[in-house]
Structures are given as structure tokens and as C-alpha cells.
């Protein structure tokens, strides 16, 4: 099956030079297809024929649309005429140093590794424990906030030593013996007693082990940039959990995408695509999505094995005022308003923080809702701006719950894994 237009044209041209009697039925079909899809100038002049072709083309387009799209898979073949490689002195490709051949640093192995296949075999072979250690360390890092080897990008002499070497090796063996299954490791970790501990600090433990290297508690971790969007959409019930497909473009402030190299336009996604998970947001190298950058997403220029977690006023502005988050607060309010008046606060806490409020929290939020409702009763215009649609409750009440939703979605706990 030929999937690209260019390949099809090239192929049809090639086939044209094969003697007609020697063309296979398949080749004849390729040529017919090419002719049907690419009208010559003479055909264009013939009105009835043209009309008929137009009809057929529309039919063909419909059939084409019904096809499962094909994807390409790259494969590697050894190039017998591979160019020689040299050390680029001072990083300059014009200054050739010694010639180099495929191989691994002697510190890692003395075995000859002459091509990619040999390298792949060595990488996952039983004599090399490094691969499994590096992978499980990164998995651990995501669940506990830092790796067993903290320098997860450097297991060499300049990196840090593992805090719990036996644990690292045990996890690495589990990973390798479990058929290199990440899912197995995720399940193993999230069902462990270590993972399920409380994050609260305890004085006597903080004194004995201030860095918590013995993992006597969990750690509160601010969520990664993409997940911050996800929790807001999920709490509000807007999240689309569709997997895969092309990137999406949720709303972003005007003027941001215009600073992209090549002056791109940001055509906002519509429908459910506006509410897709953060990892599907189109990443433009020269003008990345601001919410992702505000929350420490890497800039995609260099490989990143661990992200930093900053805590900035720009993040606060983002969560308070970005229309994406405000829209989530509005949707969350609608969800909450469906409950009986006396259970709304508890319901709001459960949706946002997956727990019940304590009595002080319940009181504080109730006080806020009351104050807001009073305010909106005398400011119907503002109430309308916060909740533009009629939802079967008093407009002031609905607006007050949008405001309260916004408060909960701006608490530290909302964007933190506890």
C-alpha cells in the first residue's frame, strides 16, 4: 500500500516506463489510481467526463475517510557506506580529531559493542544492572519526589550515591525479572506501605532523619504542570480522557503564539478537545503554552530527567485569572449546586481535595460563601458575570459558589499530591 502522494507519483512515473504487457495487475491498478486522482489538462476540458469524475472523486474521498489512517514505522538498516566519524575538536565539526568507531566507554564494559543491535543487547543484558537501576530510580522519583539516587540524570562519579542502595537493587531486579513492565512497578510502588504513608511531618522523625532518607513519611509534592490543568478540569467534570491523536490547542492569551518563530496562529480547539489532558497541548518551541512554562514544564530543547518545582506569583496569577481555570471553577460550581445546600461544602472538598473538611475549614468556607452571596445580591451584574447562565438557584447563590470553587481550586492542597 502506498500512503504518500509523493511516493505514488514517483511510483506511477516509474511504472510508465515498464512495457505495458509486462505490468502486473497491481501495477496497472496503481497507474489507474494515479490517473483518476490527477486529472490531465485534456480531461479538464471535457465537461461530462469531468462531472462524472468529480462525482467519483467525492465518492472516493468518502471511502478514503473511512480508512484507518496508516502510520509509518521507522526501521534501521546498516549502511555499508557509513561515513567515518571523528572527534570534533572543541565541539567544532570542522576540526577533525581522532577517528572513532562504535563502542561503549571502557568503564562500563570491555565487551565489543559494534552496532546498534549489540548495543541494545548489552543495554538489557544480565551483565548490565545500570539500565534497570536508572529506570526504577526515575519511577521512584515521580512517586516520592526524589530518586534513591538524587541525581537521576547522573549515575556516574559526579552524581550522588544512592541513599538506599539495597532498595534500588531490589527494585531493579523486580523490574528486570518482571519482564521490564512499568505497570508492574507502578502497582508495586503505589500499593506499598511506604507509598501510602501520611505526608505529615513528625518532630521526633524530623530530628533523627531530617532529609527523610528512611522514608518514614510520604512527601507533599506539587503536581507537574500538565497535571495541574488536569486536576482543575477533572474536579470540575470537564476533563476529556480521550487518549492519543493530534495535539490540541486550549485557549491561551492573545499575542503569545504570535511571538512564535514564523508567526504562527493559535487556532483554538473546539468541543471536547478544549478539555483534553495537559500532555496533549501543542508544544511550540519558541512560544510554549504559558501555563506549562509557569509550572516548570521543561522547554523541550534538552532532555529532562527531573523537573524543578518552583513556587511563584506568576503561578498564583495563572490559577486565579486564567480563563481555563476560571471556566473550571464555573463548571465545578454547577456540580456542587446539584447537591443539597447543607452538603455542598463537604461535596466541594471531596471533589477538590478528596477528603472532608475539618470543622474550622467548613466554617471558614461557609462564612466566605455567605459573604459572597450577600455581596452578589447587591451586585447582580457581577453575579451574572460569574455565572452567566440560569441554573435554577438564585443568581447570587450560584455566583457565590463559583467564587467558592475558585477559592478551593487556589488552595495549595489542590495542586499538591499529599
Amino acid at each position: 500500500m502506498i500512503t504518500s502522494f509523493k511516493a505514488m507519483v514517483d511510483n506511477a512515473v516509474k511504472l510508465l516506463f515498464i512495457d505495458e504487457s509486462k505490468r502486473t495487475p497491481e501495477q496497472r491498478e496503481i497507474m489507474t489510481n494515479h490517473w483518476v486522482r490527477n486529472l490531465g489538462p485534456d480531461v479538464a476540458k471535457d465537461k461530462p467526463l469531468n462531472d462524472r469524475l468529480k462525482e467519483l472523486r467525492e465518492k472516493l474521498a468518502k471511502l478514503d475517510a473511512g480508512f484507518t489512517p496508516l502510520t509509518h514505522a521507522m526501521t534501521v538498516t546498516v549502511d555499508p557506506k557509513a561515513p567515518q566519524a571523528y572527534i570534533a575538536l572543541g565541539g567544532d565539526y570542522r576540526s577533525k580529531g581522532a577517528e572513532v568507531t562504535p563502542g561503549l566507554p571502557a568503564a562500563l564494559t570491555s565487551a565489543p559493542v559494534k552496532d546498534r543491535l549489540a548495543f541494545a543487547r548489552w543495554l538489557c543484558g544480565p551483565e548490565n544492572p545500570l539500565t534497570a537501576r536508572v529506570v526504577v530510580n526515575r519511577i521512584w522519583q515521580e512517586f516520592f519526589g526524589r530518586g534513591i539516587v538524587r541525581t537521576s540524570d547522573d549515575f556516574g562519579t559526579q552524581g550522588e550515591k544512592p541513599t538506599n542502595p539495597d532498595l534500588l537493587d531490589w527494585l531493579a531486579s523486580e523490574f528486570r525479572d518482571g519482564g521490564w513492565s512499568r505497570k508492574h512497578m507502578h502497582r508495586l510502588i503505589v500499593t506499598s506501605a511506604a507509598y501510602r504513608q501520611s505526608s505529615a511531618t513528625r518532630k521526633e522523625l524530623s530530628e533523627r532523619d531530617p532529609e527523610n532518607t528512611l522514608i518514614s513519611r510520604q512527601t507533599r509534592l506539587r503536581l507537574p504542570a500538565e497535571l495541574i490543568r488536569d486536576v482543575a478540569l477533572s474536579a470540575s467534570g470537564l476533563l476529556s480522557t480521550t487518549i492519543g491523536g493530534p495535539s490540541v490547542r486550549p485557549p491561551q492569551p492573545a499575542g503569545v503564539a504570535e511571538l512564535r518563530y514564523g508567526n504562527g496562529k493559535w487556532v483554538e480547539s473546539t468541543g471536547a478537545d478544549r478539555y483534553r489532558r495537559g500532555l496533549y497541548i501543542q508544544f511550540q518551541r519558541t512560544a510554549p503554552y504559558p501555563q506549562l512554562m509557569n509550572f516548570d514544564a521543561p522547554d523541550s530543547n534538552v532532555a529532562c530527567t527531573r523537573r524543578s518545582r518552583s513556587n511563584t506569583p506568576l503561578q498564583a496569577l495563572n490559577l486565579l485569572n486564567d480563563p481555563v481555570f476560571f471556566e473550571s471553577a464555573q463548571a465545578l460550581a454547577l456540580r456542587i449546586l446539584r447537591n443539597e445546600a447543607n452538603s455542598r461544602i463537604d461535596q466541594a472538598f471531596r471533589l477538590c481535595l478528596a477528603r472532608d473538611p475539618n470543622s474550622r475549614e467548613r466554617e471558614r468556607l461557609a462564612k466566605y460563601v455567605d459573604e459572597q452571596e450577600t455581596y452578589f445580591e447587591t451586585n447582580p451584574k457581577s453575579a451574572k458575570a460569574l455565572m452567566p447562565m440560569s441554573v435554577g438557584t438564585k443568581p447570587a447563590e450560584a455566583a457565590a459558589w463559583v467564587a467558592a470553587s475558585r477559592v478551593l481550586m487556589n488552595t495549595d492542597e489542590f495542586i499538591v499530591r499529599e
Binding site: 511531618t201 499575542g255 511571538l259 518563530y261
Partner: protein, 472 residues
């Protein structure tokens, strides 16, 4: 962060955790008033007495043509339309054209200005009037002949991705003196730059050092305005509720990050006041607005950016970068170069004058330049349109200028050969420029380092020499 700082913060945290009941309030009061708080953005002492406190980097993206603006080359006339002898071009590596391309003499008229007799072309009628405040460097050179590597080298000292940019280094070294605005601010005009966000990235430095992109229209800072229907009082009431809930959680968990979060929200609230003030020019005199060209359609955007830059420097924003794109005149040199000059010339001259009349030029280092210059040879992309001729990228000899902040005014440093090909006197590498900028800010470029991947990194990589001739 170095291990010492980490230890200090760790011990601080454990102290606060042990205080018990009132810990949230102690931490909060502390963070809000900045007393002894482990604030990484607190102003820091430089290595030695600084000449400049702030930087305004006027980045001219794409590579402005030095021989049509600052560095007259009458010698080109002799060769105009002819290729150069191969012995002159044998080591030349260019992005698009061949070294055998014909020479293009500049059609510009040059005159000398000021006491210093500095050269400017007829495209720069305003900047030429502040000639005696500028230090013209005609002998810049860089290693990159394409945009993105060139921009990375200029701003990070390396052509590879991932290093911190100059603004991030400066804020890391000196901290911030602006209470309600980011310490490293970026304003853009024209088209998008090929370096984009990597020109103001924090690289491997903590992300609090990254440049914040401000805007000259709409909200000056993204997400600065409250959602529709939320008044400032309403915002305050919401923040009070958020703070109380956060404090409850802080008492419960003892996680000091929550105290930082509370402080961040307070700063955000203050930024919501400071941001609009920054963009509010109603208290500027009509004469000032006129001087910058704020009300002129052509200059409006760049003038607004320049005026915002001055206003930011006034309130202590450490490093302001204005990016203007693009000066990449492969084609239509005459027209496109004029357009860029018409947009930027008057606002830049006004910025220099304005800083000077307010006594700010002494403490503000202004830098003008691109990632490289342009070739003496012509680039013709469309042979049917000879008027569309342009110039290719030229990394071996180009011009930048500096002003204020302890830089010697009214001098021209370095010179190029008869054709503007090679530097013949006082070469200044990009790393030397970086070393000099840091020096004026009171920092030794070999000592401003950050440990990453097992070694100390610095802006000037492994080279760079302070250019004594530039120093006042």
C-alpha cells in the same frame, strides 16, 4: 543552590517546625517582610563595587547590517558587483551564499556626529544625536553563523541548549530589587525570534530565574486581570479565604512550601497593582511621550517597550530585554532595514536621553546588538528582482554598542578591514562582551558559577576577558 544555602534552609525549616502552634504565623510574617527569610531572590552583594545596577538589552534579532548602519566601508565601491579574490575568502563559512558571491557596496550615506565624530548612516537620524553617550564596538565576533546557535551563544555563552541566559545569571548573582515585578523582564516587538523562549530561559538554574514575558498591549503580565465580575475587593476576599485554608493545612502538615505559597499569592496581589501602573503612561509628560514616539503609529510599539523599560529600571527591575525581530535581511535590504530603523531609532535615542536626564544612565547598562552581522557580499534570492538584494549572516566582524553603567562614552572601539570582512584591531568575542557586562555589574565572570552535572558552569563558559577599553 549551593549546599550551604540548603543546610541553612533545612535548619530554618526544622526550627520553625519545632515552634509548634503559632508556626504558620511566624513563617508567614517572616516571608512577607523578608526578614532573614531564605528568599533566593533577595538582593545579593556583588563581588566588588558595581558601576551598573540594571541592564537593558536591546536585542536586534536576525543580525543587523553593520556596514549599512555604523561601520562605513567605502572600499566596497571598488569591488561592487564583482566577486572577491579567493585568497580573501578561503576560510569563510557562510549560511546561504558562496564565498564567491559578488560584493555589495552600501548605498547609505555616512556622516560623523558629536564631539566624538562617531559614524552613523542616514537611516539613524536620532541615534546619531546621542553619539557621545555610546561606546561603539565595531569589532564584535561570534562562532555561530546561524540564528539560533548565535542567539544561544550571545545569551548563554554556549551554542548548545540548556544553559541559563544572561538575565538569569544576573538575577542569580545579584538578586532582585523590585518588590512587585519580576526581576528579569522581556518585551517583544515585530516578529517571533528563532531563539524564542530559549533567549530568556533559566536553563539549569532554578526556574525562579527565568525571564518573564511582559506585553505592551493588554495585560502587561499574563493573567494579571481578574476574571470579569471580580473586583479588587472580591479578589482580596478570595485571597483571604485561600490564605486561611492554606494556613490550616500548614498547621496540619508542617510543610513550609505552603508558607511560600501564601507569600506568592500576596505578591501576586501586589503585582496586580504594580502591573497596570507600569503600563499607565498618564503621568508621563507629553514631551516624554513625544520624544519616545509613543503616539506615532510607526514607533508606537517599540516606544512603548522602551518607555516601559525605563519605568521598570526606575523601580528596580534588574534586567530588561527588548527583543525586536527581524533584522535578517537576506532580501530587500534597503527597504527592510529602513523599516526596522524607522521603528527603533527614535525610541532608542529617547531611552538614552531619558535615562540620562533622570540620572539613571550611570547605573543602567544599555546594550544594542544582534547575534551577528551581515556580509559585505550580496545575496540574491530572486535574480528577476535585483532591487531585492540582501546580505547573508556574517559572524566574523560586526558592530554592537553599549551605553551608561560604567561604560566609556563617545568612543569607537576596534576596526575592520577595508571591506568589513575581518577584524584588524581589538577583537571582542561574545564571551568578552559577557565578561564586561558582568564586570560592570560588580561580578567576576569566572566566579559567578553554578554547579550542574558535576561541575561548575558560568556564562562565559571557559573563556572571556573584560574589555578594558570599554570601561569608563
Amino acid at each position: 543552590m549551593n549546599p550551604l544555602e540548603l543546610a541553612r534552609i533545612a535548619s530554618r525549616r526544622s526550627f520553625l517546625k519545632n515552634v509548634g502552634g503559632g508556626l504558620g504565623m511566624i513563617a508567614l510574617a517572616d516571608l512577607l517582610h523578608g526578614a532573614e527569610a531564605p528568599n533566593p531572590l533577595a538582593p545579593k552583594k556583588p563581588h566588588f563595587a558595581p558601576k551598573a545596577k540594571n541592564v537593558i538589552f536591546l536585542f536586534m534579532e536576525g543580525g543587523p547590517s553593520q556596514m549599512d548602519l555604523y561601520d562605513p566601508k567605502p572600499g566596497l565601491q571598488k569591488w561592487h558587483g564583482k566577486p572577491l579574490p579567493p585568497e580573501m575568502t578561503k576560510d569563510l563559512k557562510l549560511a546561504f551564499i558562496k564565498p564567491t558571491a559578488a560584493v555589495l557596496a552600501s548605498p547609505r550615506e555616512f556622516r560623523q556626529f558629536g564631539q566624538s565624530g562617531m559614524f552613523f548612516s542616514d537611516y539613524l537620524p536620532h541615534m546619531s544625536k546621542v553619539a557621545d553617550d555610546l561606546c561603539m564596538v565595531r569589532s564584535m565576533h561570534t562562532d555561530a553563523f546561524n540564528h539560533h546557535p548565535g542567539q544561544l551563544l550571545l545569551f548563554t555563552g554556549s551554542m548548545q541548549f540548556g544553559r541559563p541566559t544572561m538575565g538569569a545569571w544576573v538575577v542569580y548573582g545579584l538578586g532582585s530589587e523590585s518588590k512587585n515585578l519580576p526581576a528579569f523582564a522581556v518585551l517583544a516587538s515585530g516578529a517571533g525570534t528563532s531563539g524564542g523562549a530559549s533567549n530568556f530561559s533559566n536553563g539549569f538554574l532554578p526556574s525562579m530565574y527565568q525571564g518573564t514575558l511582559l506585553r505592551s498591549t493588554g495585560d502587561p503580565i499574563l493573567y494579571l486581570s481578574n476574571p470579569e465580575g471580580v473586583s479588587r475587593d472580591q479578589q482580596r476576599a478570595a485571597l483571604d479565604a485561600v490564605r486561611d485554608l492554606n494556613q490550616e493545612r500548614l498547621a496540619e502538615t508542617g510543610d513550609m512550601e505552603i508558607a511560600s505559597r501564601i507569600a506568592s499569592y500576596e505578591l501576586a496581589f501586589r503585582m496586580q497593582m504594580a502591573g497596570p501602573e507600569l503600563a499607565d503612561f498618564s503621568k508621563e509628560s507629553p514631551a516624554t511621550l513625544e520624544m519616545y514616539g509613543v503616539n506615532n503609529e510607526t514607533t508606537k510599539q517599540y516606544a512603548t517597550n522602551c518607555l516601559m523599560a525605563r519605568r521598570m529600571v526606575e523601580i528596580g527591575v534588574r534586567y530588561v530585554m527588548l527583543m525586536h525581530a527581524s533584522w535578517d535581511q537576506h532580501t530587500n535590504l534597503n527597504k527592510a532595514l529602513k523599516k526596522n530603523c524607522d521603528i527603533t531609532d527614535q525610541p532608542i535615542a529617547a531611552l538614552i536621553k531619558d535615562l540620562k536626564q533622570r540620572g539613571l544612565l550611570d547605573s543602567t547598562l544599555v546594550v544594542w546588538g544582534g547575534e551577528f552581522g551581515r556580509t559585505p557580499m550580496v545575496e540574491i534570492r530572486n535574480t528577476a528582482d535585483p532591487d531585492g538584494a540582501g546580505r547573508d549572516h556574517h559572524p566574523n566582524a560586526y558592530t554592537m554598542w553599549l551605553a551608561g553603567g560604567g561604560i566609556k562614552p563617545g568612543v569607537t572601539i576596534g576596526s575592520t578591514d577595508e571591506l568589513g570582512f575581518k577584524i584588524v584591531e581589538d577583537p571582542v568575542h561574545v564571551h568578552d562582551l559577557q565578561a564586561t557586562i558582568l564586570n560592570r555589574l560588580g561580578m567576576d565572570h569566572t566566579k559567578l558559577t553554578y554547579r550542574h552535572m558535576g561541575r561548575e558552569f558560568r556564562l562565559t563558559d571557559i573563556s572571556g576577558t573584560v574589555v578594558d577599553k570599554m570601561l569608563a
